[in-house]
Symmetry: C2
Subunit: 214 residues, 2 copies
Amino acid sequence: VGSVWGIVVAAGAGSRFGGAKQFAPLGTGRVVDWAVVATAGACDGVVLVLPPDVPWDGVPVAAVVAGGATRAESVRAGLAAVPAEAVIIVVHDAARPLAPPGLFQAVVEAVAAGADGALPAIPVTDTLKRTEGDRVLATVPRAGLVAAQTPQAFRADVLRRAHAGVVDATDDAALVEAVGGSVVVVPGAQANMKLTTGSDLAMAAALLEWAAKS
Amino acid sequence: VGSVWGIVVAAGAGSRFGGAKQFAPLGTGRVVDWAVVATAGACDGVVLVLPPDVPWDGVPVAAVVAGGATRAESVRAGLAAVPAEAVIIVVHDAARPLAPPGLFQAVVEAVAAGADGALPAIPVTDTLKRTEGDRVLATVPRAGLVAAQTPQAFRADVLRRAHAGVVDATDDAALVEAVGGSVVVVPGAQANMKLTTGSDLAMAAALLEWAAKS
């Protein structure tokens, strides 16, 4: 496979969450600790992107860098600290503390097998509507529609090229798609939820307990 | 407003869930009990749609009917038991046990104010991809995209007309949209989650506890 490096994006301010959710306690650690440990298990080195001026006192990582104003800027800050010898780069959101180890392996393997990028995704189970103001314009056909998760793995050169622009996007795969890269999906995990609201944290804690009992 | 009736759809087999999730215990009752009580609080009468041959031993309802092979068939079975004097009909999925009372009021009021239909919706926070097999074709623009929930309220005559066809859909609003009805959205609730997998039940229980503490 070659050298695999990870970038954990933990620079968000968590405006919907009402605080920096990535530092909230979860089980025996903090949210961000779970994300870093999971990423480290699959990578030769981890670059952690934190909000500016936040010190790091968790498990050792190869580098800690300050994030930017947007998600893409934060990833770019992380990319700058990933050594040139990295062949595959895995980007993971700290807001997804419960990503199982198998997900990291699956996306890395998909890239090693030839894709430019790979991401875990789960089927969309909600009915989606396109709206304008409070009016429903249409129901969005759900066939082939999936919800993307992280970790997302990429060929390092393709990810760097995708980030050379100045655009923002809600995930890195969208940037790689925009430069014509081939991206594949692997089966995601329902438990790999993104913490967005305060109640999500309670749900994540319940999932941890549920998983321990199952 | 006139007579408001509710239909609680609890006829699903729960194949993803690994059992009939609507009868799973949740807090002090079963999932379906929460949904029926919430609906009853906002309606003059409730029609409960159950799987065939499942007896009902919960709180009193106006009628219990057997569901069909699809969601839409189950709603139609419920519609047949709603009295002709009903002016507004509220359809609610038993798989959403934690719908707050305010949601029922909000959708009923939106229909009373002139819409043919109203549904609660929350912003889509996931990045959505259109796929073919395991290949990502595109990232779906998220602007204006919302995830629909139940309860959904409708002018009774419009809902009956929408269901006169033989089509299926993932929600009733889609049928009303298909016959040209005007549908509006009201702010949904994050806690109004749909129970799909076994771990969702653990999360719903955690939400109940979290809400009690908040």
